[in-house]
C-alpha cells in the first residue's frame, strides 16, 4: 500500500526519535516566558545590522537583558566570503558552542561525514565580552558552515526513508532538519550541562542569540556593518533569574526560517501533544520553539499554502467566519477540525523571516492571535528603496526607519502607512506578509499582502524629496513663497494655513520646504513663535491635498521644521529676558525652575530621557507642574511613557502638546488636563481617565481608555483592540475611524441623557486629496458593546452594515432628536479639532441626510428602570 509522502516523513521522524531514545513524555513543562519586544524589517536593498540597534534599545523595557536574539535573511555573498553561487546553493549552518572542547568531536560526528563543507569559519568577536555593557554572560562561540549533503549520503537517506516522491531539495531539507535534531539531542537536550546547539540552518539565513540585550550581538560579533535584506530582533524577559546560556532565547529556527514570538501559550502542553503525535518533540522547552515546529510542520510536511498555515495558527471565528465565502468556510472548517490543537491559545504575536524556495526570494511576516492580545504595528515605507516593518511598538518602527534613513537618503524616516492587523478576521486574517522578489533589471521589489493575498493599499503620491538637499531650513526668505508666508501672517494663523493648503497641490517639495523656511524666518521674531508652531502643527495634523507629492515627505519636512523651531527656543539655562517659551532637555533638566513672569510654556526635548523611572521626562513634567508651569510641549519622543500621568486631580488649567512617537500609558489617570497627541499614539492610553480632554491626531493602540471614568476624547483615526473596556461614569468619546474589536465591552457608563458616557464611531477616513470618505464598513469586529450595562454607542452606519450578531447584550435603538442634541456638540468639537465637518458626516452618497438616517444607537438591551443614580447616602 502506498502510504503517501506525509506519512513517510512522519514515520521517518518516528524512527529518528526512537533512535535517539526520546520518549513520549508524561507531562510537558515549558520554561516560563514573559512578554517581549519584537522588531522586524525588510528592505529592497540590503541594510546593515546596526539598524536594529535603536529600535532594540528603545524596547529595553520589554526585555530584562536576559535573552536577546537577531536573525537575518538575504546576505551579500562577498561579505560572508563566499560566491553568489555558494550562497544560493549551499545551506548555512550556525552552531553555538557553549563548551569549545567539543568542537572537533561534534564536527567529526555531525558535519564532515555527511556534508560537503564549502566554507567554514568561526564568527569573529571582540576580545573581552565584558566590554559590552548589555551582555550578562559570555556569548557562545559560533561556527558558520556552508554545507551541502553529500550526494551518496542523501541517496541513501532517500532510499532508506522512501522519500522518492520528494524533490532532492526537500529531501536535503529534511536531512538537515533531522541532523539538527540529532546534534541538539546529544549536545544540548540530553545534558544537564549544555555543550552546543544549532542556532540556525537553511539557505541565506543566520540566527544569533545571547544572554543580554539583542543589540549587544552586533557589537560582540562585530557585525554592525553586515548587510541583509531582512532583520528581526527580539528582547526577551525570562522570569527565571539565572540564565547562563542563550539556548532558550529567540529567534528559533527551522530550515530556511526564523521566528520570534511575543507572548506565551496557555496550551503549551496541548500543542506539545499535537506535535508528539507527529513525532516532533521540543528540545529547548519554550513555546517559541514549538511555534516554529508547528510552522515548519504545516509548511514543509503538509505543504500548506501560507494562508492555511495562518488559519491553523489563528483560526477565524464567530462573525468573521460567517462572513467568509462558503468555499473558504469549508476549507477553514477542515483546517480547524484537524489542527485546532496546534493553535496556540493565549496572547502571542509572531514575526517570521524566511528564504523561499528559489533562495533569492525572502519574506517577513507578522501573525497575531485571534484575540489580538499583544501589541503589533505594521508599516510600509515605499519609494526607490522599499522598507517593510513589523514591531511591538510604533516608536520602534520610527527608530528603525530613522536609523536607516541616516544611511540611505532614499529612505524617508516616515512610512507611507502604519496599521494593525485584526487577528483571525475575515478582513485581513490578522497577518501581513512582505515578500521581496527580484523585479526588472534584477532589482528587488517588495509587495505586502494580507493573509488572503490582497495587497496593502498605499497613498497615491509618488513625488519624493531629496532628503539630502531639499530641507536646508536656512531661514532664507529670498523668494516669493517665503514672502507669501510672511504676508499672510498678519491675517492670523488660519490664513497662513490656508495659504499652505491652497498652494500645496501645485507646490514642489522644495517649495514646501521653502515655505517652512519662511515660517521659521517669521519666528525669528519671538512673538511669532507661537503662531509658527501652530501653523506647522496644523500642517502636521490636518489632511489636505498634497498633489502628486508623497504625504510622508511633506510630513517629514514639516516635522523637521517643527523640531528646528523648538530647538531655537531659549533654554531654561539661558539668562535672557523673558519669552513665552522655555526649552529644557536632558542636559538642563536639573536647572528646572519656576516660570518667570511672562513665561507660559515649558518645552521638553525628550531626547535622551529614559522611557520610565524617576529620571524620565514625564517625571520632569510633574516636577515642572509642581513648580507652577501649566503649558507644555513635549517633542522628540521615542517611546517615553506616562506623559501627563501623576499630576493629580483638578488640573483643568494644564495643557500638554505631544509630538513624535510618544509611548504607552499617555494620559492614564488624568483628571482635568488636556493632552493633544500630534500623530499616532501607542497602547494603553487614557486608562482610568477621570476628567479632561485627550485629542489624538492619528491612531491609537490597544486597551484605549480601559476603566475610563470621564473626559472628552477625540481620535482622528482608529483605536486598536479592546477600547473602553470596563469604562464607567461619563467618558465621551469620538473615534473617527474604527476599532479592531471588542469596543466598549462591559461598558457601564450610565445614561447618556443624564450625564452618562457614550462613544461616537464615525467609520470614516481620508482619501489622498484629504476628503472624508467612508470606510468599507464602520465596525468590522464581531463584538460590539458586549455585556454592557450603561452608556451608548452612536455608530455612523448609513448603509446598515452592523448586525445584531455583533451585539451581545446590546440592541439597536432609534436615534431621537435628544440623541442628536446630546452628541452634536461633540461632533462640532470634532469638526473644530480635525476639520471633519458635521455636514460631511451627514452626507451619504453625495446627499445630505437626517441624523437618524446616518447614525444608529446601540444601548443596553435591558435598560434598568432605576438607572438614575441617587444621591450619596453618606
Amino acid at each position: 500500500m502506498d502510504i503517501g509522502i506525509i506519512e513517510r516523513l512522519l514515520r521517518s521522524r518516528q524512527r529518528l526519535t526512537e533512535d535517539l531514545g526520546i520518549s513520549y513524555p508524561a507531562s510537558y513543562k515549558g520554561e516560563e516566558e514573559g512578554g517581549c519586544g519584537v522588531v522586524g524589517f525588510c528592505a529592497t536593498e540590503p541594510v546593515a545590522a546596526r539598524h536594529i540597534h535603536e529600535p532594540s534599545r528603545q524596547m529595553h523595557n520589554r526585555g530584562n537583558g536576559k535573552g536577546g536574539g537577531i536573525a537575518a535573511v538575504g546576505f551579500i555573498p562577498e561579505e560572508l566570503g563566499v560566491t553568489r553561487e555558494v550562497l544560493d546553493t549551499f545551506s548555512m549552518v550556525h552552531v553555538a558552542f557553549l563548551n569549545n572542547g567539543v568542537r572537533k568531536e561534534l564536527e567529526e560526528k555531525y558535519i564532515t561525514p555527511c556534508f560537503d563543507v564549502e566554507a567554514s569559519s568561526q564568527l569573529d568577536t571582540v576580545d573581552d565580552w565584558t566590554d559590552i555593557p548589555s551582555l550578562e554572560a559570555k556569548p557562545p562561540d559560533v561556527m558558520r558552515y556552508f554545507v551541502r549533503v553529500k550526494p551518496h549520503v542523501l541517496d541513501s537517506f532517500i532510499a532508506k526513508n522512501g522519500f522518492g516522491q520528494l524533490s532532492r531539495e526537500d529531501a536535503e531539507g529534511e536531512f538537515l532538519s533531522q541532523q539538527s535534531v540529532r546534534l541538539n539531542q546529544e549536545y544540548y537536550a540530553s545534558l544537564g550541562d549544555k555543550k552546543a546547539f544549532v542556532m540556525s540552518y537553511g539557505r541565506n539565513i543566520m540566527i544569533l542569540k545571547v544572554v543580554g540585550y539583542a543589540e549587544a550581538i552586533t557589537d560582540y560579533y562585530k557585525i554592525d556593518d553586515l548587510k541583509a535584506h531582512v532583520w528581526i530582533a527580539h528582547q526577551r524577559f525570562p522570569t527565571k533569574g539565572r540564565v547562563w546560556h542563550p539556548g532558550g532565547a529567540h529567534p528559533f529556527g527551522a530550515i530556511d526560517t526564523a521566528l520570534v514570538h511575543n507572548g506565551d501559550f496557555a496550551n503549551y502542553s496541548s500543542v506539545c501533544e499535537y506535535l508528539a503525535q507527529r513525532h516532533i518533540y521540543p528540545q529547548f522547552l519554550t513555546d517559541t520553539e514549538v511555534s516554529i515546529q508547528i510552522f515548519d510542520l504545516l509548511s514543509r510536511t503538509y505543504k500548506y499554502p501560507l494562508e492555511y498555515i495562518i488559519e491553523a495558527l489563528a483560526p477565524t471565528t464567530e462573525l468573521d467566519f460567517d462572513r467568509l465565502p462558503k468555499e473558504k468556510q469549508a476549507v477553514y472548517r477542515a483546517i480547524q477540525a484537524t489542527h485546532i490543537h496546534a493553535s496556540p491559545d493565549g496572547p502571542w504575536f509572531f514575526i517570521i523571516a524566511r528564504t523561499l524556495e528559489a533562495s533569492d526570494r525572502f519574506q517577513l511576516m507578522g501573525i497575531t492571535d485571534t484575540s489580538m492580545l499583544r501589541p503589533q504595528v505594521f508599516a510600509f515605507a515605499d519609494g526607490e528603496v522599499q522598507v517593510g516593518l513589523i514591531c511591538s511598538e510604533k516608536q520602534a518602527i520610527d527608530a528603525a526607519l530613522h536609523s536607516m534613513s541616516k544611511d540611505d537618503s532614499r529612505i524617508c524616516p516616515i512610512a507611507d502607512r502604519y496599521w494593525n492587523a485584526r487577528g483571525g478576521s475575515s478582513t485581513d486574517g490578522g497577518s501581513f506578509i512582505f515578500t521581496l522578489e527580484k523585479g526588472e533589471g534584477g532589482r528587488y521589489r517588495m509587495s505586502c499582502t494580507d493573509k488572503f493575498g490582497s495587497p496593502v493599499k498605499l497613498p497615491s503620491g509618488t513625488e519624493v524629496a531629496d532628503l539630502n538637499g531639499t530641507i536646508t531650513l536656512s531661514g532664507g526668505n529670498g523668494d516669493g513663497i517665503a514672502s507669501g508666508v510672511r504676508e499672510h501672517f498678519d491675517s492670523g494663523v488660519a490664513a497662513v494655513f490656508h495659504f499652505f493648503t491652497e498652494n500645496m497641490p501645485r507646490w514642489s517639495l522644495a517649495d514646501v520646504s521653502r515655505a517652512c523656511e519662511g515660517l521659521i524666518a517669521v519666528a525669528e521674531d519671538s512673538r511669532q513663535f507661537a503662531g509658527a508652531i501652530e501653523v506647522l502643527t496644523l500642517l502636521n495634523d490636518r489632511r489636505y491635498d498634497g498633489g502628486t507629492k508623497k504625504r510622508k515627505h511633506i510630513l517629514h519636512i514639516v516635522r523637521t521644521a517643527l523640531r528646528e523651531l523648538f530647538s531655537r527656543l531659549p533654554s531654561i539655562a539661558e539668562d535672557i529676558p523673558a519669552s513665552e517659551f522655555r526649552l529644557v532637555n536632558y542636559g538642563s533638566r536639573n536647572l528646572l525652575r519656576e516660570p518667570h513672569a511672562g513665561e507660559t510654556t515649558l518645552v521638553i526635548d525628550t531626547l535622551g530621557f529614559p522611557p520610565e523611572g524617576m529620571d524620565c521626562n514625564s517625571a520632569l513634567l510633574v516636577d515642572a507642574y509642581v513648580k507652577g508651569w501649566r503649558k507644555f510641549i513635549v517633542y522628540n519622543c521615542a517611546g517615553q511613557r506616562f506623559t501627563g500621568c501623576g499630576l493629580g486631580p483638578q488640573t483643568w488649567d494644564v495643557a500638554i502638546d505631544v509630538y513624535d512617537s510618544d509611548g504607552d500609558y499617555l494620559g492614564s489617570g488624568i483628571d482635568g488636563l488636556t493632552i493633544t497627541v500630534h500623530g499616532n499614539a501607542q497602547d494603553q492610553l487614557g486608562q482610568i481617565i477621570k476628567d479632561g480632554k485627550l485629542v489624538i491626531h492619528g491612531d491609537t493602540g490597544q486597551t484605549f481608555l480601559y476603566g475610563a471614568k470621564g473626559g472628552s476624547i477625540f481620535v482622528l483615526g482608529n483605536a486598536a483592540g479592546r477600547p473602553l473596556i470596563n469604562s464607567v461614569g461619563r467618558p465621551r468619546v469620538v473615534i473617527n475611524g474604527t476599532c479592531l474589536d471588542f469596543l466598549a465591552e462591559s461598558f457601564m457608563a450610565g445614561d447618556p441623557f443624564a450625564g452618562g458616557g457614550f462613544v461616537i464611531l464615525n467609520g470614516v477616513t481620508f482619501d489622498d486629496r484629504g476628503n472624508v470618505v467612508d470606510l468599507k464598513e464602520p465596525y468590522p469586529g464581531g463584538n460590539l458593546f458586549s455585556l454592557a450595562s450603561g452608556g451608548a454607542i452612536y455608530v455612523r452606519d448609513p448603509h446598515r452594515y452592523l448586525v445584531r450578531q455583533q451585539l451581545n447584550g446590546g440592541d439597536f435603538f432609534r436615534m431621537t432628536d435628544k440623541d442628536w442634541e446630546t452628541i452634536l456638540p461633540y461632533l462640532q468639537e470634532n469638526e473644530r479639532l480635525f476639520g471633519i465637518k458635521v455636514d460631511d458626516l451627514l452626507t451619504v452618497d453625495g446627499k445630505q441626510r437626517r441624523p437618524r438616517e446616518v447614525y444608529r444607537k446601540v444601548a443596553p438591551a435591558k435598560l434598568s428602570a432605576t438607572a438614575e443614580i441617587e444621591s450619596d447616602e453618606w
Binding site: G35, I688, A867, I869
Partner: protein
C-alpha cells in the same frame, strides 16, 4: 507609636508637592484593649443552661458564679436570660462554684448548644468562631477553661494538620517585651520609604460594596492602632477613610473600579490584584443586589446591575506589561510601595520571581482556602494550590534565586488564627493578610450568604444602609483591636517557647513544623 511614618522617611523630600496635597490630617487610634461585649443580647454560646420550674429563685447560682452568667435583676421576679457566652461550661465542675451541682433544687441543667451543629463549617469550626468572638470581646486568648478547640479547624488537611514542634522548655527565657513582632515591607533598597508594621499581618481587601463602609472604617481604625494596614479592595476610596490614609492599601484590580490618580497618590502601598486564591481566573463579582445607589455612585456604574471585574487585566498579558503597570503607579506616586497579589497556580514560583523582577516590593500569595460566601463554592479550594505548598515553593525558589531578602512575601487565604499566622511564617512567609477573621470578630457567623445584598444577618457583608447600622464604628474598631491584641499575645507566646526574639527568626523554619499525616513526630502541647 513605634515606626510612625514621619520617622521612617523624609517623605517631603521625595514627594513633589502635588502628591502631598491630597493628604489630610491623620487620626491616631489608641492601641488599648477595652471590653467590647457582643452586640446581641444573647450571644451564641457553646453551652446552654436550662432552668426548670423547680427553681425557687433563691439566688444562689447568681451569688456563686464569678462570671456573672446568672442575672436576677433587682425588682424582677424571674431570672433574666443567662449570659451564656461567659459561661466556661463543664470544666466548671472542677471548681467550687459549679451552679449545676450547687443548686439546692437541682433546677439547672447544662447541655451543649444544639445550634453549634448548624454553625460554621469544617474550616471555621464553631469553637474557632466562638474563640474569635471571645478574643474580640476581651483582647485575650480564651482561657483554657472554656475548652475551645480553636487553634486548628477540622478540615482534616492543610494548616489544620500542621503542628509546631515546641521544645520541652525554651532555649532562652524571654520576657514579653523583649519580643519583636514587627516586619518591614520594603526590602528593595530602591530609595522608596521603608514601611514597618508592628504585627506581621495586615487586613485584606474588602471593597465598599462587598462590605459596608462601617466595616471598612473599623478595619482601617484598628490598622491605625496597630500601625499596620487595611486594604480598600476594588471599589473606590471612601471620603471617610482619608484620616487613615497612612494605613490604607488601595487596590488596583482588573475592573479598575474607583481607581483614580488621587486615590493612588494618597497611600503608602498600592496593591495590584491579579487574582484571588478563592476564585483564580474568575475575576471579581459584585452581584446586583449589592449595587446600591451609594455603591453605584462610588464606582460610577449603573444602579442594580451586577459588576464583573474581568480576568485578567486587559492591559497586562505578560511580565513586561506588568512591569509597565508597576512603573505607571510608581510614577503617579513616588513614595508608594507596590504589592502584587496573585493566586497560587502551579508555577507560582515563576510568577513570584517575575513580579519581583518587574519591580514589586511585596509578593502576596493568595491560596485557595479563603473566600467568603461571594466566591463560588466550585472555585473555593478547588483551583488554587493549597497555601502551605505555595508558600514553601515560593520561599525556596526565591532563596535559590538569591533574591529572598529583596522581597517581602505575604501569604493569605484561609489564615484564621495566630497559630495559622505563625505556621505560614514558619513555612517561609514574612507575614500574612487576614480577612474573614476580622469579620468574625465583628460577629460574622459564616453563614456564607455574603453575595446577597440583604443576606448578611449580621450587617457586615452588606451595603444596605439599614443593615449596616447594626455595627457601630467605635465598637467595630475595638473588636478588631482586641482580636489583634489577643493574636499578638499568642504569637509572642509561640516565639517565647522557641526562645526567639523576633518574628523574623521564625521565617522559613519549616523544620519546626510537623505534619500529623506525613511525619512521625509526636505532638507536644
Amino acid at each position: 507609636m513605634e515606626g510612625s511614618l514621619a520617622k521612617e522617611s523624609a517623605r517631603k523630600d521625595i514627594l513633589p508637592g502635588n502628591t502631598t496635597k491630597t493628604l489630610v490630617p491623620q487620626v491616631e487610634v489608641a492601641r488599648v484593649v477595652k471590653p467590647a461585649p457582643p452586640r446581641y443580647r444573647n450571644e451564641i454560646a457553646k453551652y446552654i443552661i436550662r432552668r426548670s420550674s423547680d427553681c425557687t429563685l433563691c439566688g444562689k447560682c447568681a451569688e456563686i458564679c464569678p462570671h456573672g452568667v446568672h442575672v436576677l435583676k433587682p425588682g424582677y421576679k424571674l431570672f433574666s436570660a443567662p449570659h451564656l457566652n461567659v459561661c466556661v461550661g463543664p470544666s466548671c465542675a472542677q471548681t467550687d462554684h459549679y451552679c449545676i451541682d450547687l443548686c439546692p433544687n437541682k433546677a439547672l441543667q447544662m447541655v451543649e448548644n444544639p445550634m453549634l451543629k448548624a454553625m460554621g463549617d469544617y474550616r471555621w469550626t464553631p469553637d474557632m468562631l466562638m474563640a474569635t468572638w471571645r478574643m474580640a470581646e476581651t483582647g485575650e486568648p480564651p482561657s483554657p477553661e472554656y475548652g475551645y478547640d480553636y487553634q486548628t479547624g477540622a478540615s482534616g488537611g492543610g494548616l489544620d494538620r500542621l503542628r509546631f514542634k515546641f521544645p520541652e522548655k525554651p532555649p532562652v527565657e524571654l520576657s514579653d517585651d523583649e519580643i519583636d513582632t514587627s516586619i518591614v515591607l520594603n526590602r528593595r533598597d530602591d530609595g522608596r520609604p521603608q514601611v514597618k508594621i508592628d504585627v506581621p499581618w495586615y487586613g485584606g481587601g474588602m471593597s465598599f460594596g462587598s462590605v459596608s463602609n462601617v466595616i471598612q472604617l473599623s478595619k482601617a481604625r484598628a490598622a491605625a492602632a496597630f500601625n499596620t494596614f487595611t486594604c480598600t479592595g476594588e471599589g473606590g476610596y471612601m471620603e471617610r477613610m482619608k484620616p487613615y490614609d497612612d494605613h490604607v492599601i488601595t487596590q488596583i484590580a482588573t475592573g479598575l473600579f474607583g481607581v483614580r490618580e488621587e486615590t493612588i497618590q494618597r497611600v503608602r502601598i498600592v496593591e495590584f490584584k491579579y487574582a484571588q486564591g478563592a476564585k483564580p481566573g474568575l475575576g471579581g463579582h459584585l452581584l446586583a443586589d449589592k449595587v446600591t445607589p451609594a455603591v453605584a455612585k462610588m464606582r460610577e456604574t449603573v444602579l442594580g446591575i451586577s459588576l464583573f471585574s474581568p480576568f485578567p487585566f486587559h492591559s497586562v498579558y505578560s511580565i513586561e506589561d506588568h512591569q509597565k503597570h508597576i512603573d505607571w503607579i510608581k510614577h503617579i506616586n513616588r513614595r508608594t510601595l507596590i504589592s502584587t497579589k496573585v493566586s497560587t497556580p502551579n508555577d507560582v514560583d515563576m510568577v513570584a520571581v517575575g513580579s519581583y523582577s518587574a519591580g514589586t516590593h511585596i509578593v502576596h500569595l493568595d491560596g485557595g482556602y479563603g473566600g467568603t460566601g461571594a466566591a463560588p463554592d466550585i472555585a473555593k479550594k478547588n483551583i488554587a494550590m493549597p497555601i502551605e505548598y505555595g508558600i514553601v515553593k515560593v520561599h525556596r525558589f526565591l532563596t535559590d534565586e538569591g533574591i529572598r531578602d529583596k522581597v517581602t512575601l505575604i501569604a493569605s487565604g484561609g489564615l484564621r488564627t495566630a497559630h495559622d499566622i505563625a505556621k505560614a511564617i514558619a513555612l517561609g512567609a514574612d507575614g500574612v493578610v487576614v480577612g474573614t477573621s476580622e469579620l468574625v470578630a465583628l460577629g460574622c457567623i459564616r453563614c456564607s450568604r455574603c453575595e446577597s445584598g440583604r443576606g448578611c444577618p449580621r450587617g457586615i457583608a452588606t451595603t444596605d444602609a439599614e443593615l449596616a447600622r447594626d455595627v457601630d464604628v467605635e465598637w467595630g474598631t475595638q473588636r478588631i483591636i482586641n482580636l489583634y491584641s489577643a493574636w499578638r499575645k499568642e504569637l509572642v507566646g509561640i516565639l517565647k517557647r522557641f526562645g526567639m526574639r523576633s518574628i523574623s527568626e521564625l521565617r522559613g523554619r519549616a523544620d519546626l513544623l510537623m505534619h500529623l499525616d506525613y511525619t512521625n513526630d509526636v505532638e507536644t502541647r
